[in-house]
């Protein structure tokens, strides 16, 4: 993995995914390790994402590395009209690795083609967010003891949710049983379904949540955005169909965990947070270990 940019979850093999997760486990046991002492890492956030940026910066700091960069493009020379290429070429003079988030799809891959230093994609528009995918995989493995043969239900906006697409593709390597719960207008795209079939795996689609609750090992909730609906009545209906409440999770498996890429709005009511099955905040913490594992792997320090 040394010097290998991570732009899309497919850039790394199944074995490399597992290797990152194994390393992340070690960082969870011992988060403070001075492996990146003397390294400078740039975090270039052309659009703001406080959660992801802080998670990366926390990972870098715990490894003894230094961070340079910007939190939104208004404070960089992008606002003066500089091209992405020029920004990347300049910053690569100052940093050993670049973490970037950018509103345009494909921006990270393009950056990796012009940059002499490796790039980690921290989100390119609606396209990819591979470190989210790795932390989701880590969370599943940690709570279920394995990544193999998991029954997972994805709920909500399965059409536009990039985290769902990446995770489905990554889990196709692990004999996963997929269940997709969504309104008809927000179903999983055909290209992703084709990928599942190509891997000889099966999936089922549902409109309602009820049937899937008792059998799922993981319930992966996503936020449904109002602006995705042309019909406001349909939105109101769907909004309440996909609302997890303490009652609903009563008859779920003992090992079941609720995941969510956050931020949540109303699809998980706050009283669910008390349940031991609510995992979404720990899931976010796991992101720091996974990013530590990724940074040290790419920089060849582990």
């Amino acid at each position: 993995m040394k010097n290998k940019s991570l732009l899309s979850i497919n850039d790394y093999s199944k074995e490399e995914h597992i290797q990152i997760l194994d390393h992340a486990e070690k960082f969870e046991k011992k988060p403070i390790q001075n492996l990146l002492n003397g390294y400078v890492i740039a975090t270039l956030f052309f659009e703001p994402s406080t959660r992801t940026r802080l998670s990366f910066e926390s990972a870098i700091s715990r490894l003894g590395g230094r961070v340079i960069g910007f939190a939104d493009s208004s404070s960089s020379s992008v606002s003066k009209g500089e091209t992405l290429k020029d920004t990347i070429l300049t910053v690569s003079n100052y940093a050993d690795l670049i973490v970037m988030r950018h509103p345009k799809e494909g921006s990270a891959r393009y950056a990796s083609e012009v940059s002499p230093v490796p790039i980690i994609n921290a989100g390119d528009g609606a396209n990819q967010h591979p470190t989210q995918c790795l932390l989701d995989m880590y969370s599943i493995r940690k709570t279920q003891g394995t990544l193999n043969d998991i029954k997972i239900a994805f709920v909500g906006d399965l059409k536009y949710g990039r985290t769902v697409h990446s995770l489905v593709i990554a889990l196709c390597n692990f004999n996963t049983e997929f269940h997709f719960v969504s309104p008809p207008s927000l179903k999983l795209p055909n290209s992703i379904k084709r990928h599942i079939k190509k891997n000889n795996l099966s999936f089922q689609e549902y409109y309602e949540l009820d049937n899937i609750l008792p059998i799922a090992d993981i319930i992966y909730m996503t936020r449904i955005q109002q602006e995705r609906f042309s019909d406001p009545i349909e939105y109101e209906r769907v909004k309440n169909v996909y609302k997890l409440t303490p009652d609903l999770i009563e008859n779920t498996k003992e090992n079941m965990k609720i995941m969510h890429p956050l931020p949540r709005v109303n699809e998980i009511v706050e009283s669910v947070d008390e349940s031991s099955k609510a995992y979404y905040f720990t899931q976010a913490l796991n992101g720091v270990y996974v990013r530590q594992a990724l940074l040290t792997s790419i920089l060849g320090k582990i």
Binding site: G106, R109, Y110
Partner: protein, 156 residues
Amino acid sequence: MIKENKTRKELIVSAIDNGTVIDHIPAKSLFQVIKILNLEGFENQVLFGTNLDSKKYQKKALIKVRNKFFKIDEINKIALVAPTATIIVIKNYDVIEKIDIEIPDQIINLVKCFNPNCITNHEKIPTKFIVIDKDELQVQCHYCEKIMEKEEIVFL
């Protein structure tokens, strides 16, 4: 009857002594093929005809380029608009070789990404597409990873 048609065709687009004939181009794609192969800037003799009768395809176009022998990668670029085309290599008025067009694995700097939010529509970057289905002609943008169907393909 057929022979007569053939003679007339040869009158319309006369024979070349040496060079390449691109036959069986769908009539509506002629000008796109000319553009893709950049024949406008050519100094050699270029002859073309369109809306010609074709046994196989009803209306076809053909192009004859004198003293030009295309490389296979170069000619395969027209596969997106003229998958039915046949390339005929002529030397001393004789047919030396007939080659069917093949859809390439990658399409470089020929097609525009249909995704308005793709980085290639915002910075000066040569576009690059991976052909993921040659029968249905589906292509995936190397950058934004969106998949375009045949009908969505727009040339640069």
